[in-house]
Every structure is written in C-alpha cells, then in structure tokens.
Symmetry: C2
Subunit: 329 residues, 2 copies
C-alpha cells in the first residue's frame, strides 16, 4: 500500500485561479493487480490548456488533469518493467495505478545527459504541438516569415526554432527582457517585449514591413486583432492557444476578424496535437534528433515539490516561466 | 459623341450610406478609337462588397465601382461586334469606352428565355462566389450539413441550392417571412427568420441538433459568434461576407473566436471569387447548365432607372432584395 497525494479542483476557477480553488487529497492505493503498474510521479507538467479545459473536461472534486513522467515502482505488467519510466496522463497525482493503456514508455534511446522532463516539453506534447502547427496546419515554407507570440513559452520557443530549421524568418513576441534575450540566443530574427513597446502595430510592421505569411497564435485577445491586420494576402494562422483570454471572468471582446479575413483571404485554423496521434512516435524521434544536433535548444522553469503544483500552475499562467514549466517532485 | 452619366462617391460613407454621399456626373464621351468599343449599360449590379470596398479601393470623387451588362453600341474592336453584349467592370456608368481588355463577352449560347442580368447574378460573380466557397474553400461533401446566412441573397440562395445538388442538408437564415418562403421553395431543409426567432442559439441547435459541418458566412457580427458555437468538431467556415458590420461607423466588437476554434479545431477562411479566375469560364458553364436543368432557381429584385442606383444600393444593404439586386437602365 502506498500513500498517494492528489490535487483536486475544489472549485471551478472564476477569473484567475487562486489557492483556495485547489485542495490536496490523500488516499491509500492498493497493490497493483495483474496487468497493472504502480507509478510514482517524477516530473509533472503545468500547461496553459489546463485552465480552459478545467471548465469543459472537469467537474468540481475531480483530480486536476495533466501529464507526468513517472517511474514504475511496482509492476505486474511486463510491458512496463520495474524502474522504467513512462509518460502518463495521471493528472496531478504523486502516485497512481494504471493498466498501461494510457502509458507511453519514455523513448528507450533517451540520452543520459538529457532530463526526462523533456518528455513533457520539447520532446513531448508542447514539441508535437509546435511541429504539427507548423507542418500540418500552416504548411510553412522556406523563405516565409512567421510570427509567434508567447514565443518564450514551452510551445513558442520550439515553434521559432523549427521555423529557423525550415529556413524562415521568425519574429517573436514575449513578456520580459529576459525572455527577449533568450529568444535572441535561440536565433529568432526579430524579438520584442510586447509589454514595453509603444505600439504593437508599429512594432510588428517594422519587424516585417512586408507582412507575415504565417502566424502561430498562442495569445489571442487584442494581440490577435493587431496581428491579423499585419498578415500578407493568403496568410495562414494556426490557433494553438489564447492565453490572454483564459482567465476572463467575462469574455473579452474585440473587433470581428471576418472583414480582414475576406480582404486578405486569410485562413485561420484551431488545432490540438492529438489530431495527429498516429504520427507521434515518428515526430518525437525527429524532435529528439534536433535536440541532439543542437538545433532545438530548450530551457525549463522548474518548481520543486508536489506541494507547489498550484503555485507552479498559477506562475506559468502569469508568465513566470521561460521555456517549459515543470514541477519536480 | 455620347452624353454619359456616372455616379460618383462624393463623400466616403460614414455609417449607413445616404443620398448626399453620391453625386451624378455627366460627361461627353468621344468616339471609340481603333481597338475600342463604346458601351451602353443595360443592367447594373449593386452588391454588398461595394460598401467595404468603397473605403479601400476608392477615393472621394471616383466613380462607384461595379459590374454591368452592357451593349456594344459602337465598335472598332472585332472581338466585340456591334450589338453584342459584354460583362464590363465599368462601374456605375451609363456609357463607357473600353479597349476590351476588361470585357467578358456574354456566353454565346445564352438561352433566349433567360435575362442577361443573370450574368450579374446566378451565372455571374455571385454564382461563382457560391460555387468556389463550397468547392474550393469548404470542400463540402455529400451528407454533410451546411449553414448559410443571408440565404435569400444573391450568393446565399445559390449556396443553398448547390449544397442541395451535392446531397447535403441545408439550413438557411434570412430576414423576412417572404424570404423564408422563397428558400423553402428552393428546397432548403430548414429555414428561419433571424429577426423574429426568440433565440438564435436555440434555433440553430434545433435545426441541426448534431451541429454543422460547414458554415457559409455572409453576415458576420453576433450571428458569427453564435454560429461558431454550433459547429461540429473540425467544422469549416467560408467567410464570404460580413454585411452586418459593413455600415459600422465604429467597429462592433464580440467575443474572440480563438478559444472555440481550438476546442472544436475549426477552420475559417476568407475568400474572394477572383482567386479562381482561371476556372471562371468552365464554372459559368456549370452554373448555366444547372439553371437550364431547373436545379438552380433564381429571383431578381429589379430597380428601374440609372437615376436610382444609390437607392437600389442602399435598399440592398437594408435587405430589401430577395435574390439578386439589379438595376435595369
């Protein structure tokens, strides 16, 4: 028997999440049955999507959804041997039982010098999101100009680097001088701090006077309104996130985009990486290869302690993280 | 020499157009030079696009843009013989000179029992817009459910009928009981008057409880916000028009669509028929064939007199027309 901890959504978020919306629950887990494994969380992911999904995929009293890298500490399933690591959709739990159906073994050829937490970031869901957004949604071509916002985040930082790999000009927006410096290190062509520019419109125009072929959208809200105006004719927009609107108690409003979309004949598509699950394995290998070749650099913002999951989540929503926000147990 | 009349954009529209925004100008046209023809307008088109295009393609003092069916009344160009008819982008002019480069001869096999004004509607630009929106943008498939608003208009009425030809379920929205009756005659599966329904959301849900695969958007504004919520996962939206926002002195605002586009993985694309100009000739033949076979029915709202161009235009913007709004000289 194992004493397990889990973070519960005690109350649906109303506006920005607060401590009292979460509750730590303890429970005893029984021994795994035949075919089952007992998992212990090593790294847990906090991601922007958890905020909007809390409303549509969770009810009050549910364990917070989420992915983790876990170690198999008891095994009655030969596919997941004792001591091996898996990526699991166990939610915000310190320990969990699984029949293996929702588990993905961490890549067997995982390099010794890379932390397993990368399986929650650049070589995990955020990396896949960046890759599919670029290849499947935008169809980004060499020589094109791409705009990405929340560019220093887990997805955005991979987006910009893949676009560079593909021979594109990359313009990135982020929310601090530190993030701007990080993005310059990554090789972004133009970077700016959206919080300190005088005019977002002027900044976007001067970063690419001829406009943007593609826009990888992570922010939404007023940024989207301004960015859409700067697209080239036939521009494509991959809508991955809308973090500036996730914590609205009352939905923000802005000018309708339809007229601009007609005049410029723009295409805008919302997407989630799960759509291309059949390509995940091959895609993760490509992401890992780019990491090993040094073409995909990464940074993590690590919060220590399972007890700090809510704080890590709220910090990430505020933009505390450069790179992927991770909780290390 | 011919005394020609032309309607000028005297002042840029501020909100809904008014009489004083237009001015009638007279001028004398000289004889056509070698290679030129002298045209006399027979039917002129008034279309929604003229309102937003007035801002981006015209300056004060310019002749209003637009297309007409004209008769060649003098010809020094053998490609356009005396007495023949052409579709011309002459704008709001009673007479004009052309070197032929912007003229399209009216289809030689034009049936005697069909008015030439159809070349400005169902077998013209609005028909092409409907066809390309369905085939090139939406990729509408048999068995799918399509929503179209401004469904009794020049484009919308063709959209719904082509969707029926393709074996789809069609739900249409229009703004009067007369239009609703017309759309039922055309074979639309579900039709409603958006001005009198208690709840647009409930009406859309009950018309297609399983949601919509495709949405042909002519209206924009609050309709778009409600309709997007009713799309199926992976739904496609062709943005053709946004007539409910064209006359805003100050842009209307609404909730940002990004979050819904992500959750449902929607695709939204703005378009203009001119993108597929290389297919126009073949497409017009298909439209004409459907008309002859009775599969594409049509109705026109004809205003008599070149003097009434502004009134016809403003009436169309108010929704006076069922089917295509035409001015007969």
């Amino acid at each position: 028997m194992v004493q397990a901890k889990a973070w519960i959504l005690a109350r649906h978020f109303d506006g920005f999440p607060k401590d009292s919306d979460f509750q730590l629950k303890e429970e005893e887990l029984s021994e795994p049955k035949d075919g089952e494994v007992l998992l212990e969380a090593v790294f847990l992911s906090v991601d922007p999507y958890m905020r909007p999904f809390s409303r549509v995929r969770m009810k009050e009293g549910d364990v917070m959804i989420g992915t983790q890298v876990a170690k198999v500490i008891q095994s009655k399933n030969p596919a997941f041997p004792l001591g091996s690591h898996v990526v699991s959709r166990s939610g915000w739990r310190s320990h969990s039982l699984s029949d293996g159906s929702d588990l993905i073994p961490v890549m067997s050829e995982w390099p010794k010098d890379l932390p397993l937490s990368l399986a929650l970031g650049t070589v995990g869901m955020p990396g896949l999101t960046a890759l599919y957004g670029i290849e499947e949604v935008l169809g980004l071509q060499a020589g094109e100009t791409l705009l990405v916002n929340a560019a220093a985040g887990a997805v955005g930082s991979v987006v910009g680097q893949i676009a560079k790999i593909k021979g594109c000009k990359v313009v990135g927006s982020a929310g601090s001088e530190g993030k701007v410096a990080f993005l310059k290190e990554l090789g972004f062509d133009q970077v700016f701090n959206y919080k300190t520019v005088t005019s977002l419109e002027e900044t976007l125009r001067s970063a690419s006077p001829e406009g943007y072929d593609c826009f990888f959208e992570n922010v939404g809200g007023t940024f989207s309104t301004v960015a859409i105006q700067q697209m080239k004719d036939f521009g494509r927009i991959a809508v991955c996130g809308s973090i500036s609107t996730y914590n609205d108690a009352k939905p923000q409003t802005g000018p309708y985009p339809q007229m601009t979309m007609i005049m410029k004949q723009l295409k805008m598509e919302g997407f989630m990486q799960s759509r291309w699950a059949d390509k995940h394995q091959e895609s993760l290998k490509r992401l890992m290869r780019w990491v090993k070749e040094g073409k995909l650099q990464w940074r993590e913002h690590v919060t220590k302690g399972f007890a700090n999951m809510p704080a890590a989540f709220m910090g990430m929503l505020k933009g505390d993280n450069t790179g992927k926000a991770i909780v290390a147990v």
